[in-house]
Amino acid sequence: MRPPPLLRVRDLTMRFGGVVALNRVGFEVAPGSVTALIGPNGAGKTTVFNCLTGFYAPSAGEMRFHAPDGVEVALHDLLGGPWRGADFASPAAFGWRLYYKMFGGAALAARAGVVRTFQNIRLFREMTVMENLLVAQRAWVNNGILSGLLATPAYRRAEAEAIERAWHWLDFFRLADDGNRLAGSLPYGRQRRLEIARAMCVEPRLLCLDEPAAGLNPSETHELAEWILALRRGHGVTVCLIEHDMGLVMEISDHVVVLDHGQVLVAGRPEVVRDDPAVLEAYLGAPEEG
C-alpha cells in the first residue's frame, strides 16, 4: 500500500491583481521522494514555493502537510487570511488575526519542517559561514538570554552541539575550509551549497530547492545531484525541486510536475513526462537541454 502523501496541494490559486499566477494547481509529494517542479519561465514555480513556505497567502485552495510523525499542518492557513469586519466584533477572532499577522507566515512553515532555498541566493553575507549555520539552528536559539549571559552548563552544551552540527553540514557539503570566511566572499557555487547546508540546519522534513543548479558548471551540478540523493537516503528528507536543468531533473527525480501558465500540464514519472507531446510543445518556444 502506498504511504499517504507528505504534501497534498489542491486547487491552489494565486492572483496578483488581475494576473492569475497559479490556477487550480494540484499535486502530491510522496514521503522520501524527490519531486521536481518544472516549466518555462514565468510558469509560476517560484510562486508555488512562496505559497508553500508561507510567504504568500494563496487566493484559494489548500496545501496540507502530513509529517510521518503525525504532525499535520494546513500550510494555506499560515498567514491567517485578510482582516474581515467580523474580526472587530469578536475579541478572540481579533486576537487570532493579530497573532497570525505578527507571528504567522514563513517562520511557522519553517518550524513545521518546510524549509526552502531561494532562486537568487539569500545568505547573511557579512556574517561568516559558521555563523550562517548557527543562526539556522533554532533548538539553540530557544535558550533564554540569561542562561546565555551566564553561560550555564546547559547553554554551553547546546552551543557545543550546535557548533558540532554546523561542522557536520560543512563537511557534508565540502565547505569546512571556508568556515570562518564571510559568506558573501565565497565563490558562487559554494554560496549555493552553503544555502542548502543552512537549510539543512533547520532540520527540514520537506526541503524546497529553487533552482539549486542555476549557474553551476556540469561537474558541480553532478556533485549536487549526489548530495540531494544522499540527503534523501541518509537523512530522511523529502525534496521538492525547481530546476531548468533537465539532465539533473531526469537523473534524480521520482516524480515530475510540469507547470505552464500557472496550470499543471502533466505530472508523472520523469521518462513519461519527457516524452509527452504537450510538454514538448510548452517548451518549444524556449527549447531546453532535455
Partner: protein, 427 residues
C-alpha cells in the same frame, strides 16, 4: 582570494592627467561660482564692496586640493576592495593580545580619576555616559540594522524617569536605575510595534518623529515636567552615605563616616567608578550577546529579513528585543546623565543629540563594540580639547566624517567576527 577580482585591468595609474586636469578645472569653476557670492561681496553700511581676489584665491586652493586628491587618494582607492574577504582571515596583533589590552584599558580607566582633576573628571563622566548611549544605539542600528534617529527619546525617558520618579514617588537613584531603564525598554518595545513593517528611510522618519514628540511633550506638559524649567535630580548616595558637604537631617555624609576631609571631587570619583562599572557590565553583556543566538539573529535580520523568516526566525521578536534592549541601555545612560547634572530639562534631548550618538556608531563602525566605544570617547573628549576652536568644531567634525568614508568606510576598527575551530572531541 586574489582570484575574486583578477579580471580588472591594472588600476592605480588608471586616471590619466587629462581627466585629472579636467576634474580639477571643473571643481575650480564650481568653487568660484559658490565662493563669489559668499566671499566676494561684502556689505559695508549700505554699499556693496567687491573683493574679487578672495574667491579667486579660494578657488585656486580648491583646484590644487582636487589635483592632490586625484594624484594620491583616488589612485589608492582604485585598488580592488579585497578588504571584506580578508577581514575575516586576518588575526592581527590586537586580536592576539586582546585580554591583555582589555585588562590594561580597564586598569587605566580605574586609576584615571585620581590624576586628571575635576574638570576632566566631568568630561570623563560625560564620555562614559556617551559610551553607554552609543552601545545601546549600536544594538539597534549597528547590529539589527534598524535606522533609529530618535534614540534620544529613550535617553530622555531614563533621565526624566529618575527625576520625576524622585519628585513624585521619592524614588532613590538605586531604585531608579533598574526601573527607569525598564521603563525606557518598554517605550522601545512600544515604539517597535508600529514600525515593525518599516525599513530604512521610513523607519528613520518615524523614529525621528517619535524623538521629537517625546521632547515636545516634556517641554509642554508644564504641570508634570515643569516644562523648560526642568526637574531636579539628586545625586546618588552610597549605602545611605551622602556626598554633600552637609548631610540631610538623619543622614551621614561620606567624608564624616570615613573621617576624611571633605572634597567635592570625592563624589565625582565615586560617580565615575560607579558609571565605569555599569559601562564595563554593559560591554560584557554586548560582547556576549554578539556570540549568542539573540545577537546573531539581530545581525541576520540586518543582513536579510526574508532569509531569516525562511529559517523559522520571527522577525517580530528579534526586532522588538533589539529595540527594547537598545532603549534600556539608553535609559540607563539617561539616569546617569540626570544624576550627574543634578537637573534635567528638555534642551538636552534634541535631535542633534540623536545625530551625535549616531555619528559615534557610524564612526566606530556599525556593529563593532570596540570601535563604537573609542568613537564615543573621541567625540566627547575632542571637542573639549579643541575648546578654543569651538567655532570650527562642526567643520572638524564634518571633515572627520568625510575622511572616515574615504579611508575607513567600515569604521574605525572594522568588525571582528567570532572564529570557530574544530574541537578535537568531535572525532
Amino acid at each position: 582570494m586574489m582570484a575574486i577580482r583578477d579580471g580588472g585591468e591594472p588600476e592605480g595609474g588608471g586616471l590619466t592627467w587629462a581627466t585629472r586636469l579636467r576634474d580639477a578645472a571643473l571643481t575650480g569653476v564650481i568653487a568660484l561660482l559658490l565662493f563669489a557670492p559668499l566671499t566676494g561681496v561684502t556689505l559695508t553700511g549700505y554699499a556693496l564692496e567687491g573683493h574679487w581676489q578672495r574667491p579667486l584665491w579660494l578657488a585656486a586652493g580648491v583646484v590644487v586640493g582636487r589635483l592632490l586628491i586625484g594624484l594620491f587618494l583616488e589612485a589608492r582607492r582604485a585598488r580592488p576592495p579585497v578588504e571584506s574577504a580578508q577581514a575575516s582571515e586576518k588575526v592581527g596583533w590586537i586580536d592576539r593580545n586582546r585580554p591583555f589590552i582589555l585588562g590594561l584599558a580597564l586598569a587605566c580607566a580605574l586609576i584615571l580619576p585620581w590624576f586628571i582633576g575635576k574638570y576632566w573628571l566631568n568630561v570623563a563622566i560625560l564620555a562614559l555616559i556617551y559610551v553607554l548611549l552609543a552601545l545601546g544605539l549600536n544594538i539597534v542600528v549597528g547590529l539589527a540594522g534598524l535606522l533609529d534617529l530618535g534614540f534620544v527619546a529613550f535617553y530622555a525617558v531614563g533621565a526624566y524617569g529618575y527625576a520625576l520618579g524622585f519628585k513624585y514617588l521619592g524614588l532613590s537613584f538605586w531604585l531608579a536605575l533598574p526601573s527607569a531603564a525598564l521603563l525606557a525598554g518598554l517605550c522601545g518595545i512600544l515604539l517597535g510595534f508600529p514600525v515593525l513593517r518599516m525599513h530604512g528611510d521610513y523607519l528613520a522618519i518615524v523614529t525621528l518623529g517619535f524623538g521629537e514628540i517625546v521632547r515636545l511633550v516634556l517641554n509642554n506638559w508644564m504641570e508634570l515636567t515643569g516644562g523648560p524649567n526642568g526637574v531636579r535630580a539628586p545625586f546618588p548616595s552610597l549605602f545611605g552615605l551622602e556626598f554633600g558637604r552637609r548631610a540631610q537631617p538623619g543622614h551621614t555624609t561620606f567624608h564624616e563616616f570615613f573621617q576624611i576631609p571633605y572634597s567635592s571631587e570625592t563624589r565625582d570619583i565615586f560617580f565615575y567608578l560607579l558609571l565605569l562599572m555599569v559601562v564595563a557590565g554593559m560591554i560584557f553583556v554586548v560582547r556576549r550577546l554578539r556570540r549568542m543566538p539573540l545577537g546573531r539573529n539581530w545581525e541576520a535580520l540586518r543582513e536579510d529579513e526574508i532569509a531569516c523568516r525562511s529559517l523559522g526566525i520571527q522577525p517580530v521578536t528579534v526586532k522588538l528585543s533589539a529595540f527594547g534592549l537598545g532603549a534600556m541601555t539608553g535609559g540607563l545612560g539617561g539616569v546617569f546623565f540626570a544624576a550627574s547634572q543634578g537637573f534635567v530639562n528638555p534642551t538636552s534631548f534634541t535631535f542633534m543629540e540623536s545625530a551625535h550618538i549616531l555619528a559615534m556608531v557610524i564612526l566606530g563602525g556599525m556593529g563593532s563594540t570596540g570601535g563604537v566605544i573609542i568613537a564615543a570617547v573621541i567625540l566627547t573628549v575632542l571637542p573639549e580639547v579643541l575648546r578654543d576652536f569651538a567655532e570650527y568644531r562642526g567643520l572638524a567634525f564634518g571633515m572627520a566624517m568625510v575622511g572616515m568614508m574615504i579611508w575607513r568606510p567600515r569604521g574605525l576598527m572594522g568588525i571582528r567576527r567570532a572564529r570557530f575551530h574544530r574541537s578535537e572531541v568531535g572525532r
